[in-house]
């Protein structure tokens, strides 16, 4: 009966379906999430290329546009509505199915349990359910392309009244917008399941000796991201339900009276408030930015320390910075709404709180630089991407200080300045975090190295490419170039900026082409990569103590015991320049 649970290895379930498709193994689920994100990122990138092409060639007829969109691009020329639907889907797919999915659900699922010395996530079935729900959400989202009218036009923020009135407001606003809201609601459910799993796993499944303050910073960021997701997606879910009812049940949560749309007066709504949606949306939307970026910060911290062979500078300060970024993230949603006519005193409060986030962000940046200072830096591709992350985070963060001030934001808000800002900090920085994680953990997942030469070429092309795309956007914004327009060629005062747009478009083609190198490298290395030892980077955390790929229950029935912090590099008096977290305690004195 209650024989104490014997220490034995768990065998993996047999059969392809149980093992690789409907798997409850956190490692398989992590890879599934990664692949879902890889598909989504290429879909989202293709949409952005179409947009960039259209922006500089608005009147050129393209045969296959007409083939793809017989009505929205009849004659091969995109309508502005089609452009808006591409923009909406680009933003939505990138934010939800790439930035939210890969760093947290992908890498987090694979490595959180191993880094904390657990066999699996706390609720494996829930974990599986969470992945399949996310996939369902993606399918519903992509289906919006194929319904009558096509994809929605209202942006990834889905502002009503545009998103609440139905077909009358535009071609994609019928079925397409309904599917969009449904997909987001399903995604919220999936994210809530994921968050429950991440929090319970981190809180309760840490192995012996792994106190909170010995957790790798990656685990800290996954934990805080899960908390943000839990609180944020719950609110978005509620808002989505209300918006859906406004569309389908003629309620008036967000729709005011007296709307005049497409030469028609809207009579069946009254009294609702579009601003209410904005508040609810951005209460989720701002933490969402940190959901996207925090795991990247964790990976970057991990890599900077490992590849400069130094402890992370100020571990505790890093932890408290992560926590305070998470906390402050919930108090600043109003800075997305300075243009909404809010009370200037509220704007001032939101502005001051926004500036406060600069403090923990700066702490992190200075600590990263402090970590690099005097380190023996190894410039592997993974490390290059981590350094790139720091660069992009600083560049994107600095423009945030401009936008956080109501007086400046009123000017910048509807210009390309904002587009440049959020792509730098939320988009590209987070993606650099993913690349860094991919190159760093690939040897653990597959037992092979990724190709360093291809990796370096990919890094330099991408790094130069993204700066070439997004830096000019800031200047365009200062020059008054509005965002969300499908073409600028007919606007006289923007005429002189068209060459800049052309440059950005070529840079986008170049950067997109460089991503093919990454995909080739990824799949080629799975088969033909150079074999990697168990701990190729001489790193300290628990995932580097197990074989590559790790066995089904991660530690093959052994219970790891942790005696050290995660960043004990170059400890004086030690023969090696690193101490594994599970090394016996006596070899050193706690720093």
């Amino acid at each position: 009966m209650s024989s104490p649970i014997a220490q034995h290895a768990h065998a993996a379930p047999q059969g392809f379906i149980r093992r690789y498709v409907f798997s409850k193994d956190h490692k398989v689920i992590g890879i599934q999430y990664y692949m879902l994100g890889l598909f989504s990122v290429f879909l989202g990138m293709s949409l952005s290329l179409l947009m960039r092409y259209h922006m500089v060639n608005p009147n050129v007829s393209v045969k296959w546009f007409a083939w793809l969109w017989p009505t929205a691009a009849s004659g091969g020329v995109m309508t502005p509505e089609l452009y808006l639907s591409l923009m909406t889907m680009h933003g939505t797919i990138m934010v939800f199915f790439v930035l939210t999915t890969v760093p947290q659900s992908g890498f987090g699922n694979y490595f959180l349990p191993i880094q904390i010395g657990a066999e699996d996530m706390a609720f494996p079935t829930l974990n599986m359910l969470s992945f399949w729900t996310t996939l369902l959400s993606l399918i519903v989202m992509v289906a919006a392309f194929f319904v009558q009218g096509g994809a929605p036009l209202s942006g990834w923020t889905g502002y009503p009244p545009l998103s609440g009135l139905g077909r009358i407001t535009g071609p994609g606003e019928g079925m397409g917008q309904t599917l969009w809201i449904l997909s987001i609601a399903i995604f919220c459910g999936a994210s809530l399941m994921g968050a429950i799993n991440f929090i319970a796993t981190t809180v309760d499944l840490r192995c012996k000796g792994l106190t909170l303050m010995r957790m790798p910073l990656t685990c800290w960021t996954w934990l805080v991201t899960a908390i943000l997701g839990l609180l944020g997606f719950a609110v978005l879910l509620a808002a989505g339900v209300l918006l859906l009812l406004d569309r389908l049940a003629a309620t008036s949560f967000f729709l005011p009276a007296g709307l005049f749309v497409s030469d028609q007066i809207i009579t069946n709504h009254q009294g609702g408030s579009p601003l209410l949606w904005q508040h609810l949306f951005w209460f989720f939307g701002h933490p969402e930015v940190y959901i996207a970026i925090l795991p990247g910060m964790g990976v970057t911290s991990q890599l900077l320390s490992t590849f400069s062979r130094k402890p992370i500078f100020g571990y505790k300060a890093m932890v408290y910075a992560i926590l305070s970024i998470g906390f402050l993230g919930f108090l600043v949603w109003g800075h997305h709404m300075f243009m909404s006519g809010m009370n200037p005193y509220s704007a001032m409060a939101f502005s001051v709180l926004t500036m406060c986030i600069g403090v923990p962000s700066a702490i992190k940046t200075f600590n990263w630089i402090g970590t690099l200072w005097n380190g023996k830096i190894h410039f592997d591709t993974a490390m290059m991407f981590a350094l790139g992350f720091v660069s992009l985070f600083v560049t994107g963060g600095v423009s945030g200080i401009f936008l956080g001030q109501p007086a400046l934001d009123l000017y910048f808000h509807d210009t390309y300045f904002v587009v440049g800002h959020f792509h730098m900090i939320m988009g590209v920085a987070a993606i650099f975090g993913m690349f860094a994680g991919t190159f760093y953990w690939f040897p653990k997942v597959t037992g092979k190295f990724m190709n360093e030469t291809l990796g370096k070429i990919h890094f330099y092309c991408t790094f130069i490419g993204v700066y070439a795309i997004f830096t000019p956007m800031h200047y365009l914004g200062i020059a008054g170039n509005p965002r969300r327009y499908s073409a600028f060629t007919d606007v006289e005062y923007l005429g002189k900026l068209i060459p800049v747009h052309q440059f950005m478009t070529y840079a986008a083609y170049f950067t997109a082409a460089a991503q093919i190198i990454f995909v080739i490298n990824l799949f080629w290395s799975v088969r033909k990569g150079k074999p990697a030892p168990i701990n190729p980077w001489n790193a300290t955390t628990l995932e580097w103590t197990v074989p590559s790929p790790p066995p089904f229950d991660n530690f093959a029935g052994v219970h790891p015991v942790v005696n050290h912090g995660p960043y004990e590099y170059s400890v004086p008096g030690e023969s090696q320049d690193f101490i594994m977290q599970n090394d016996p305690a006596q070899v050193h004195s706690e720093g």
């Binding site: 209650s2 706390a122 929090i199 192995c207 009254q270 009294g271 219970h559």
Partner: protein
Amino acid sequence: MNMAGSLTHDIVKGPPPPPVEWGGGGSDGRGANRRASFTGLFVLLAASTMVFAAFTSAFVVRRGLSNDWATMPKPPILLVNTAVLLISSLVLDQSRRALKRGDRGQFNFWWTGATALGVLFLVGQGVAWLQLKAAGIYVSTNPSSSFFYVLTASHAFHLLGGVAALLYVDVQAWRLRLGPAKRTAIDVTAIFWHFLDGLWLYLMVLFYVWG
């Protein structure tokens, strides 16, 4: 081991603690299923609370914002439903107390009673909605009725999950399959049910005071 008495003993005492050599406090994952279940439950409750907090904030804003809010007549059966739900919570606790005494017959009896009351509440809610419909009050009639439907339906959705959990434990109990591991299921279900009870009281106050 197949004696009901010793099974009860296990249910009451819970699963054995993880072996000493795994250490405590710093903790080891493998002995922590029960604790993780509770953490997961409380995290879930936090998420549900956020959903209803968002609805409440929308409620307050929407109500204060415009002058089209008309107080909605509440079907009297709501009070009966409230009583049913409250009693179900009490009965559920009666059942857990019986289990603590080791009286599995009583446990099964009261637990089944609580489950039945849970189903009865859902039926009562269905009746309440039908009565509103008969009175011509639909989801889009007025913001107050919109919020009434949204909030009660969201609560009912949660309650469906609660009833499913109650039924699961009940079936296991009647088939004498309540092993030690199920004790967690009993506790988690009970806490979730009490939460839904409290949530309902909150909603009733919201409707009767501001709705």
